[in-house]
Symmetry: C2
Subunit: 539 residues, 2 copies
């Protein structure tokens, strides 16, 4: 049986003629049901639908109709985003949410319908042949955020429309409610979508507007996600992942999936989430570090992974999460860690370019609520050594321990200096002191107090950490010991290098940080779909 | 500072002229060091390098040279895969592993070098101007799987080469060992790469060849992954993920990342991994089901996720893992669950086509070790109802409970019957009995003993499960109660639907199963990079 044959409604074992008859019967039945429901709805609104010969043009869609295929094509629905003057005078059908409903007398109601953050104004106006005053009342009584099907004619309004993203209007002919929202919502979409600027402006005008705080947003994330800014943020996030992968696949990287369940405890450093694995102690991977290096020893040459990373740290900052999405890369190198930095450089310029080119509407939606300046970056990414970096800080009176690390404040200051001097908010700082890097970091050949490592910054905040790794097992043991790590606890890792290990290096990026900093947002919880922090594991 | 300027070796704060002088000094130093190492190596082999004016052409590469950039370009290395007769008489440099070393007298040695599963024969032959007999001895003494740099001239051999994938030979001029493998490996690559057919043939000829069992392979996964078949399998896996995403992105899906750390216990069914989350009971997500549905309620319209899925089940089968990579999809539907099946249909045809087009060499590498027939699939995927399926089984004497489920054996039998009747090994079975599906599955409109759900099969094994979901909160509560699920334990989930929920449906696929079944492999551990099962959490 071919696919097209089997698209008839089940059961499909009947004869064709029986099916046709049944289809007609079903059609009649559907019409009857719709009228019944319209009756019930109208009754609830104290309207008599018996008096309304146009009752078929509106009402609640019965569930049964959302379970059974009608002859309509999915493409019969136009996206709200696509509504423009090229469709003028054309009939369209849209599905979206009733964002705002404004009755004007008894004969007219304005309905703003939203889909994926885009909005269009719909006019429900009583008309002898199609729209009854009962239908206007039905529209006026819709609860906000209910899902509706609107059929109507696209028209060009005389004056520009305020309060909708699309500059056309729909003259409504039919209006059905697909799914009703509860009458009182815990947060109002208008409030959730409001910018700080608007709120401040209102305060200055002596007015008080509702400010939805971050925690309330997250408690009702399903509603919060519907704001245009959030619709933009997660579409941008999706595009970052896509650009990341497309660049790396074109550079002969292989996408891998490494286990998150790890025996014992991870490679050290931050606190881990522990669990019982079939009677054995286990933990959640803090990074795919070990397994991506093993994959290089397993001859994949160049690998990357996009996956969750778990950190049980008690970090209560704007930039730490207990679970985030890691973009990890590991690659063979021929001679020098700059080969890894070359990939970082080109990769991120490609990602930024792709966001600027492909996410214009999304960036605008974010900017409308959270204003930010476009990221300044160079075609060839600036590279400074750590020594050069602390020298720049020294010149403005900030003293840094030469073989220590930069704190968040110093990083931010250096970001400012770099922006002033080089005109970029994206740069690489490399040749970090060995003492502040993990034991598996390759020391510099000419000065073992430094290492073949780097951090990458956006707007003064670190987003990437990378390095050449020690690939010689004896040297790795020696480095582990120097860092007070018991060699036998990491013997499986070290043994991976005994069967011939190509020189290699790599880096890790936090997806949420990239989006947060590209968009100049102030909190990483804004760029995690359902964030996890020390105080939050819901929703 | 531009990128090209900063590519000089650090520290980069010196003047240009100083740098040039330093570079020359470094070059001389490098030569000296290389000779020193060559001396040491030769001494170890009881050879006097003092007698060898050509000692600079071979030896171990000192670590320092792998930490510091030389003037060479990464592109100076040719990929083994790219070596063909178009390069005849041209000098090339390759980096790969010494797979086999075969000395022929004292003046000649054959070296097979492997990179990413592709192999080339290299001839090290004593020659007055370039290759000394000490160098031949150095080559002959290399341990298998060591990483080597080979420089030489490409030549076309008189007779076809056996035991290498590339049909050209390299006349070696220089040979350096980058990283030495231990002399005795726990598993031999030749053994690990051998097919069952070869082993059986040898047995019939009275010969005994080593068979590396699955568990040993996994214990030494870093070596096992180097076989051509494994190189192919994980490149195919990477391509499945890529084709999956490219298709969905083109169909306006948004890629999301949902949390794997979940409060309480997951949506029910299989056993979960439990852990402590900052003093609160938590578990690892058994699927992104709840969060992907919430993302639909959050207005993303169409979403997908690629991420780990955790199942604590004690399943000791060829097709179950405790951690696998889930490909998950959720989408709004307008009227019918066939809209979801339409996506499944086109998506998988696109994935299969892309594997056949883009992974020819990888599929061949897998087939050489694990012979299989190409998957038979139709341009429009066959769809059968569950009723039709059990009717087909009944006709051959297999009785199935009408409102029960198919067991593995019945699924396999039905796969055979479908192949015979319709000529496809990929099909959709839909309209499953409601009783065997999760509580959130939408019942059929015309018979609530059936549901708007489907499974998808490859070669008689299930790979996809999907359905329309119940989007009406009151109905969802009712269904949960009917399935003996305490409504209050899932209230956060149900509440997500109270703010207007679009009708929607989706499906989940196991990435490892897709690769296993497309390639007709007999064990899912072959398609998981570092598999986790009830008895294995390493490496």
């Amino acid at each position: 049986m071919s696919s097209s044959e089997s698209q008839e409604p089940p059961p499909s074992s009947e004869s064709i003629s029986k099916k046709a008859a049944k289809k007609e019967a079903a059609k009649q039945e559907k019409l009857r049901r719709r009228q019944e429901v319209a009756t019930a709805t109208s009754a609830a609104s104290n309207l008599s639908v018996d008096d309304d010969p146009l009752a078929v043009n509106y009402g609640d869609v019965p569930l049964i109709e959302l379970q059974s295929k009608t002859p309509v094509d999915v493409n019969d629905w136009t996206k709200v985003e696509a509504l423009d003057d090229s469709l003028a005078n054309r009939p369209v059908q849209i599905r979206g949410r009733a964002q705002t409903i404004r009755p004007v007398g008894k004969k007219m109601a304005f309905l703003v319908v939203r889909e994926n953050g885009f909005t269009v104004q719909c006019l429900v106006q009583a008309q002898p042949d199609s729209v009854s005053s009962q239908m206007v009342k039905f529209a006026a009584a819709l609860s906000r955020e209910s899902v509706v099907d609107v059929e109507g004619i696209v028209s060009i309004p005389a004056a520009p429309i305020k309060g909708a993203t699309q500059q056309v209007e729909i003259q409504v002919k039919k209006l059905y409610c697909v799914s009703r929202a509860v009458p009182t919502l815990p947060i109002n979409l208008e409030d959730a979508a409001r910018s700080e600027v608007e709120i401040e402006k209102a305060i200055q005008a002596g007015e008080q507007l509702v400010r939805v705080n971050q925690d309330t947003r997250l408690n009702f994330r399903v509603l919060d996600l519907r704001t245009p800014a959030n619709q933009g943020i997660f579409r941008i996030q999706s595009q970052v992942g896509n650009a990341f992968r497309q660049f790396l696949l074109a550079e002969s990287f292989v996408e891998i999936h490494t286990p998150k369940l790890i025996a014992g405890s991870s490679e050290g450093g931050a606190a881990v989430f522990r669990l019982d694995y079939k009677g054995h102690p286990a933990c959640l991977a803090q990074s795919p570090q070990l397994h991506k290096q093993m994959s290089i020893c397993g001859d994949f040459g160049r690998v990357f992974e996009i996956g969750p990373v778990f950190r049980a740290e008690d970090s209560f900052t704007h930039r730490h999460l207990c679970e985030f999405t890691g973009l990890d890369v590991e690659m063979e190198i021929k001679k020098h860690y700059f080969e890894v930095m070359d990939i970082v450089d080109k990769l991120f310029v490609a990602i930024f370019d792709s966001l600027n080119q492909n996410c214009k509407k999304d960036l605008e939606a974010v900017r409308n609520q959270y204003p930010f300046e476009p990221l300044k970056y160079l075609r060839n990414t600036l590279r400074l050594t750590y020594e050069e970096g602390i020298q720049m800080l020294k010149e403005v009176g900030v003293e840094i321990e030469p073989f220590g690390d930069l704190n968040t404040e110093a990083e931010r200051k250096l970001g400012q200096l770099v922006l002033e001097k080089y005109g970029t908010e994206f740069y690489i700082l490399h040749r970090y002191p060995l003492a502040v890097r993990p034991f598996y970091t390759m020391p510099c050949y000419d000065n073992p107090e430094y290492s073949n490592s780097f951090d990458v910054f956006i707007r003064g905040e670190e987003i990437i950490s990378g390095a050449q790794r020690v690939h010689v097992p004896e040297f790795l043991e020696q480095r582990a010991e120097a860092c007070d790590i018991e060699v036998k606890t990491i013997s499986a890792y070290i043994d991976s290098f005994r069967y011939g290990a190509p020189p290699h290096g790599g880096f890790g990026v936090g997806l949420e940080r990239v989006v947060m900093l590209f968009c100049g947002l102030n909190n990483i919880r804004k760029t995690s779909l359902y964030p996890r922090d020390p105080l939050r594991i819901a929703p």
